[in-house]
């Protein structure tokens, strides 16, 4: 009897395990995931950041072999589109990106215009009105609707300087070569924060929060696989893992505001 019962328990356990495996992503091939150096999301200098933590946890849960590397954001989007890269993190969508990428949302935040105090900009509209002001942006970055509108308008007027990353934009802002840039809550470099805050003002864009998520290449992953990875991300959200990761980097209330949102 005891043996039989044990056998039944074993069979049930095995059954559940195989079921669990069937629900997980297909690990028959190694995957690629790219991070980009961007404030608290990821710092290459220290190889740490929110995205790094999210990636590590996601890889652990998937049980798959995933090679992570560091790339410029513009190159990440290019490779996601071609299917050469499977994943990246903290992506926001638009109509064009929806064609080649699928997303698993895990946080949302607002966008802000960071301007030098000496530029005389008090409201968001002031920036566009003063022809002398130059905006710095990271190549291939998109933002919330009002911010996108501002960037496109200034771009057409030759008033945008492109950058490959956040660090040179802060340097240029400190030097006064650019007078403004668009930032997110995780964009302050920890070292320079005090000096930057001293000479700048933050102006909020009047847009709702924008969802950020795991970027999945549609060319590389079939919809069923995308759904499995999305389930993993949702699992990290529902069991509080995501909030714990964000609480490592932000005060609890801001962390909560970022991770508790309605998926679009």
């Amino acid at each position: 009897m005891t043996t039989l019962r044990l056998l039944i328990v074993l069979l049930i356990t095995l059954g559940t395990l195989s079921k669990a495996n069937a629900a997980g992503p297909d690990c028959s091939r190694p995957y690629t995931l790219a991070l980009h150096d961007h404030g608290l999301l990821y710092s290459a200098a220290t190889d740490t950041g929110i995205d790094k933590d999210v990636a590590d946890e996601l890889i652990r849960r998937s049980g798959c072999k995933v090679t992570t590397s560091l790339m410029a954001r513009a190159r990440i989007w290019q490779l996601i589109e071609s299917g050469a890269l499977d994943f990246s993190l903290s992506g926001i969508t638009n109509t064009e990106r929806d064609k080649f990428a699928s997303f698993a949302w895990y946080f949302s935040n607002k966008y802000y215009l960071l301007v030098r105090k000496d530029s005389g900009v008090r409201a968001q509209t002031d920036f566009a009105q003063n022809d002398k002001l130059q905006l710095g942006v990271i190549r291939s970055f998109r933002y919330s609707p009002s911010a996108n509108h501002l960037v496109d308008k200034l771009q057409a007027a030759d008033r945008v300087s492109q950058a490959g990353g956040l660090a040179p934009l802060y340097q240029a802002l400190m030097l006064g070569d650019i007078q403004g840039m668009i930032i997110e809550p995780f964009d302050y470099p920890t070292l320079e924060e005090k000096r930057i805050r001293a000479i700048t003002t933050v102006i909020e864009f009047n847009d709702p929060s924008i969802a950020h998520g795991l970027i999945m290449s549609k060319a590389a992953l079939p919809p069923t696989e995308q759904e499995k990875w999305r389930t993993l991300v949702n699992g990290m959200r529902s069991d509080g893992t995501m909030r714990r990761i964000f609480e490592k980097y932000f005060k609890p209330d801001l962390a909560a505001a970022m991770v508790d949102f309605q998926s679009p």
Partner: protein, 514 residues
């Protein structure tokens, strides 16, 4: 309503010019946008070409890094063979050297030097001299070309610019490049901007998940050194013509930070006619920032601009003018026809009432004036005179000198007559050499005689015709209303009779009607 009708061509002209302006402006905008797009593309392309090249060199260096996962750093032959198989040909002409650097804590310095000497580098020493906590001497340099090479043993860690990149590579585990520097191999030459790319080497099979682990397990670096101008020359693809490109170390565009300027940037051509496009881009290369500036020159605009805006402007203006002119012709056609008809009528009427030779009123018009004068004189009880005169022996002039000369004489005589009379008097030619003057508002018969005498004198002056001098006289008869007749026919008859009497009395004289 001629005014509003005549506005139409102007309206058409304005509308069409307006449309032309709109199309021209649109096209100009298009051309500007196109130029912009080309410029943006060129900037993106330039950044991308540099990125790709850096990535290629990174990959190559990762190969050397990978080698040390399987063999110790001191395996000089392995490194030499490996670099040899890379075949650093023209494709990698940007690279000056690949070096292997060992991390030597001060405690291991003596052992390290001794070991290097045992390898056969008898004079080996770490330089610059001095006691430091950590040394990072170059222990191997490949390809090992002896010429112009400084001996191995140079402590890269002692140089702050190199040290910064080495630290960055160590802490991140990723490739890192230095700021602008003069390579050791160029140390005796004129300043040639260069940079070095470092990759860390860790103890194999040890964790390197975080900064602390990476610092603990670092054993050295591999590096590749570049002269900036050779690096730029090794880029793939063709640069866009007419663009001045400069690359600065970090984010400040100063001469001290200038790493590279292409021929266009160096020559400082005049910018494209005031519409210069400029952009700067902050590239992040191997964790280091390069600022790239790009500016268009005339050649760029010439290369990409289209002249369709100019064609539109010229064609549009021409068409507008033609259309307006056409409209004007169509609208004014009737008016001009009417004006022509009126002019012709006036001319015909003039011809019907005037003598074609002298332009004086003819018999018809003269009669009309006499009727008017009669009516007026009758009503107001006034007097007027009719003065008849005939050129004496005019026929002989015609016979002797021809009709052409006779006609000219008649014309000159007519001019003199017109000058002699008052503006209100009418002079008329009524026959071959017969003239008659209607003199209104006559106060006394004497006034008529005085005018007759004035005319007679005027006619008697010599005439110069075709170089010939001719003289002629006239016989004059004067009739006064109402004394010599109370109607036109009677007055004519009286004057005519008086004139004949003058002829009979020997010509060149004046007779008053009896």
């Amino acid at each position: 309503m001629p005014a509003p009708r005549l506005l139409l061509p102007w309206l058409i002209l304005l509308t069409m010019l307006g449309t032309t302006w709109f199309v021209w402006n649109h096209e100009r905008q298009n051309a500007r946008n196109e130029l912009h797009a080309q410029f943006d593309f060129a900037l993106r392309e330039t950044v991308s070409r540099i990125d790709q090249r850096v990535a290629a060199y990174e990959q190559m260096l990762r190969g050397v890094q990978g080698l040390f996962a399987t063999t110790p750093m001191t395996n000089r032959n392995a490194v030499r063979d490996y670099v040899e198989t890379l075949g650093l040909d023209a494709n990698f002409s940007g690279i000056q050297a690949i070096t292997v650097i060992e991390r030597v804590p001060s405690s291991d310095k003596a052992a390290h030097v001794a070991a290097m000497r045992r390898f056969g580098f008898t004079g080996y020493a770490i330089f610059p001299e001095g006691a430091r906590e950590i040394y990072a001497p170059i222990i191997q340099r490949e390809p090992d070309v002896k010429r112009d090479r400084t001996p191995i043993g140079f402590d890269a860690w002692a140089d702050p610019v190199r040290r910064l990149a080495m630290q960055q590579a160590r802490d991140s585990g990723l490739p890192a490049i230095t700021g602008k520097l003069q390579l050791r191999i160029d140390k005796d030459a004129d300043p040639i901007p260069g940079f070095i790319m470092y990759l860390p080497i860790f103890v194999p099979d040890q964790p390197r998940e975080n900064v602390a682990q990476r610092r603990d397990h670092l054993i050295g670096w591999v590096s590749a050194s570049f002269r900036m101008r050779d690096f730029m020359a090794s880029l793939y693809g063709r640069p866009t013509p007419g663009l001045a490109l400069a690359i600065y170390d970090d984010v400040t565009p100063s001469d001290a930070a200038l790493m590279y300027g292409n021929a266009e940037a160096a020559s400082r051509h005049p910018p494209a006619s005031g519409n210069e496009l400029r952009a700067r881009e902050y590239m992040v290369v191997g964790g280091h920032t390069w600022m790239l500036t790009l500016a268009t020159q005339a050649e760029f605009a010439d290369h990409f601009a289209s002249n369709s805006a100019f064609v539109i402007a010229v064609a549009g203006t021409g068409l507008s003018l033609s259309m307006a002119l056409l409209a004007w012709f169509m609208i004014t056609g009737r008016a001009r026809a009417l004006r022509l008809a009126a002019e012709m009528t006036r001319e015909l009427r003039h011809m019907a009432q005037h003598d074609s030779l002298t332009g004086l009123p003819n018999r018809v018009l003269f009669s009309d004036r006499v009727q008017h004068e009669l009516a007026y004189a009758k009503r107001h009880g006034e007097r007027f005179a009719m003065i008849f005169f005939d050129l004496d022996k005019f026929k002989s002039i015609n016979d002797n000198h021809g009709h052409a000369v006779g006609d000219m004489l008649l014309r000159q005589a007519a001019e003199r007559l017109q000058k002699a009379v008052r503006a209100s008097d009418t002079v008329s030619r009524i026959g071959g050499d017969e003239f008659v003057v209607l003199m209104g508002e006559l106060v006394a018969a004497n006034a008529a005689l005085a005018l007759a005498e004035k005319i007679r004198q005027a006619v008697r002056h010599p005439y110069s015709i075709d170089g010939r001098e001719l003289t002629i006289s006239c016989s004059v008869g004067v009739a006064i209303y109402p004394d010599d007749g109370d109607n036109e026919v009677a007055l004519f008859k009286s004057a005519d009779e008086a004139m004949y009497r003058a002829k009979e009395d020997g010509r060149d004289s004046i007779r008053l009607a009896a």
